[in-house]
């Protein structure tokens, strides 16, 4: 009897356990996160604010204050008029160069690396392990060692200072890490699926295109993110293996920011930097969603 009355009384615990919002744990946790967040966002804030100010306002020196008069002039100038050397067509040329470099590089490198990974994971051909070891070893060699030999290689191929040459370079340098990525992903797909496809009469390409690839959307997305951001942000190869006509956006940005003639136009520099960063930012935003959808679409419980 005592038991039943007890469980019906209002004081007895029932439902979810109450939690205090302002507990010590929460204060420390959220406090740290907010501080770190602000720390990372302040530079971005300063850049955006500065890029929207006119030069007179910048000379006042209050870099944290919001613009009194918002102007998009610096953005237009950065895109279309900023000068590097003799050219005064802004970042736009660099942008299109970067597009011309990034798109083929991403597709070629991912196509080759995914086939590599598939062959290594599923068709254990003779020497596969040796080949894989060499490739992984390649991932750990510093870039600098290979720069000069590759200059000679490209020159002999007649591709030095040309866009296809740079695309080839990006494909080569992306190969080890991408192959590793794809091999590991394909190796994690149940082997029985591969066996079933073989019994069903599919061959090397049939299995790749009709069984493996449709199941691997997440890893293709992941590789695309890696490659697009990596190649878009590349500076070193762009400077070394091309000439001013073909300079990618990053190199052009550097030239604009570092040009010594005249007044330093901080607002234009900030706008140019933000413009250059937009593509990777955009890729992160859309691919995040795609990534999740890819995982959900490919999922089947064993």
């Amino acid at each position: 009897m005592a038991n039943t009355t007890h469980s019906q009384s209002h004081e007895s615990p029932r439902g979810p356990k109450p939690r205090k919002m302002l507990s010590r744990r929460n204060i420390i946790l959220y406090g740290t996160l907010i501080i770190v967040g602000i720390y990372y966002l302040i530079p971005l804030y300063v850049m955006i604010v500065t890029s929207l100010k006119g030069m007179p306002e910048i000379r006042l020196g209050n870099i944290f204050s919001p613009p009194i008069e918002v102007t998009f002039e610096p953005w237009v100038k950065a895109w279309a008029q900023a000068c590097t050397g003799l050219n005064c067509d802004g970042l736009s040329r660099g942008f299109w160069n970067s597009v011309k470099i990034t798109i083929p590089s991403v597709f070629v490198s991912i196509a080759i690396a995914s086939i590599n990974g598939y062959a290594l994971a599923n068709w254990r051909f003779k020497g596969a392990n040796l080949f894989f070891t060499i490739l992984i070893f390649g991932a750990f060699i510093p870039y600098q060692i290979m720069i000069y030999p590759l200059v000679i290689l490209l020159r002999d191929l007649g591709l030095y200072t040309k866009l296809p040459g740079l695309i080839l370079i990006h494909t080569i340098f992306g190969m080890p890490i991408l192959t590793l990525l794809f091999r590991n992903y394909f190796a994690s797909i149940p082997e029985e699926l591969f066996k079933a496809a073989r019994v069903d009469g599919a061959r090397f390409w049939g299995i790749y295109f009709r069984v493996m690839m449709p199941m691997s959307l997440p890893i293709f997305c992941c590789a695309m993110i890696l490659q697009i951001t990596g190649i878009w942000n590349d500076f070193l190869f762009g400077v070394i293996y091309t000439k001013p006509e073909y300079y990618p956006m990053t190199v052009q940005l550097n030239n604009i920011v570092n040009s010594v003639q005249g007044v330093k136009e901080y607002n234009v520099n900030m706008a140019a930097t933000l413009l250059t960063g937009l593509v990777p930012l955009f890729v992160y935003f859309i691919s995040g969603k795609l990534f999740v959808r890819g995982i959900a679409a490919g999922a089947v419980k064993g």
């Binding site: 019994v199 449709p214 089947v300």
Partner: protein, 364 residues
């Protein structure tokens, strides 16, 4: 004509010998079960037959044709896998027709075969669904259907029911048997479950360490296991093994080790060869061959023992006890009243027992 014939097949992974000089032939329409503990090479053998593994030595014939160097799809086999291995991005219909499309079969014929297979397996309503939207049992049906549409002579099953829960397993087991009776194809079925093996097989091959220990009808394997390993593997609860000595006389007197005072006369046991000298042996008796109470009075061998633990299982009751310090279990009818501490008279007919050499563990 034999449906499948394997001659001197050997396979090794590096230095590890997985299958050694294996010979096996399967009649047309036969249901052969490869049974063994994990790692015995049964799945490997099946993969060799399917052509998914390259063998190191020997030949494989399917329907009289030497298929040793053939691709899996050219061998005229259909295969069903443990994890179903359905293509997740394709609908059920896509899964069923994948092999037919690869074989460039006309669309009408594909539709006809898919319809036929889905009728047999009762998955007509599921054709447009993706595998992720199917239950385990439905997935396995689709997997069977994928083998069915190919219109092949030989079906290979690689532990097809191991991922299903107990109830579904029983249902699908019966369905596979029904399918076999209907199609009368040759089927090779790999499992580690002795119940599946006993219920489905025309013949069972018990494998261990890449060798076939015994290849016989289920009844023969159950009643006359060739060695102690086979005897242990088949039957649940497992066979009782009593260690002792057998004397080379007419009555085949068996003395239990450990100083149990009673001798057992196994006079009607049929030895392969008469015992000539005193021999250390295992005497194996299945718990279900032991009778209890009044019925034990008429048995050629009978003795008293003390009940230690009683495990009621519904229809039957499993009784644990010891003789001469050695574990001894027997099954009594579920309605029998029996309690721990009771003294019980039990008996068995030596004709239903098995005697194995202590050293070689082979049947005597």
């Amino acid at each position: 004509m034999k449906s499948i014939e394997i001659k001197d097949l050997s396979l090794n992974f590096g230095d590890v010998v997985v299958l050694k000089d294996l010979n096996l032939s399967v009649e047309k329409g036969e249901f052969l079960v490869l049974l063994g503990a994990s790692g015995c090479g049964k799945s490997t053998l099946l993969n060799c037959i399917a052509g998914l593994l390259d063998i190191n030595e020997g030949q494989i014939f399917i329907n009289g044709k030497n298929v040793t160097w053939y691709e899996p799809s050219e061998r005229g086999i259909g295969m069903v896998f443990q994890s179903y291995a359905l293509y997740p991005q394709m609908s059920v219909k896509g899964n069923l027709s994948f092999s037919l499309k690869n074989a460039k079969i006309s669309k009408d014929e594909i539709d006809k075969r898919v319809k036929n297979a889905s009728e047999i397996l009762q998955i007509e309503d599921l054709l447009d669904r993706k595998p992720a939207a199917l239950s385990g049992g439905q997935r396995q049906r689709v997997a069977i259907g994928r083998a069915l549409v190919r219109d092949v002579e030989v079906f290979l099953f690689d532990e097809p029911l191991s991922n299903l829960d107990a109830k579904l397993r029983t249902e699908l087991r019966v369905e596979i048997k029904r399918l076999h009776q209907k199609l009368n194809n040759t089927m090779i079925y790999v499992t580690h479950d002795q119940i599946e093996a006993m219920t489905l097989a025309n013949r069972i091959a018990i494998m261990r360490d890449g060798l076939v220990l015994q290849l016989d009808e289920p009844k023969t394997i159950y009643n006359y296991p060739v060695n102690k390993y086979v005897a242990e593997f088949i039957g649940s609860p497992g066979m009782n093994f009593l260690k002792g000595t057998i004397l080379p006389d007419d009555k085949s007197v068996f003395n239990l080790d450990g100083g149990w005072c009673q001798s057992l006369e196994l006079s009607n046991y049929k030895f392969h060869e008469p015992i000539k000298t005193e021999k250390q042996v295992w005497l194996g008796v299945r718990p279900e061959n032991i009778v209890f109470g009044d019925k034990a009075e008429n048995m050629p061998v009978k003795f008293n023992l003390e009940v230690e633990v009683v495990e009621p299982m519904g229809a039957d009751t499993l009784v644990w006890s010891k003789i001469g310090g050695q574990e001894f279990r027997f099954i009594v009818d579920g309605t029998t009243t029996i309690n721990s501490g009771d003294s019980a008279l039990v008996g068995f007919d030596p004709i239903h027992s098995s005697i194995f050499d202590l050293e070689s563990e082979d049947r005597l």
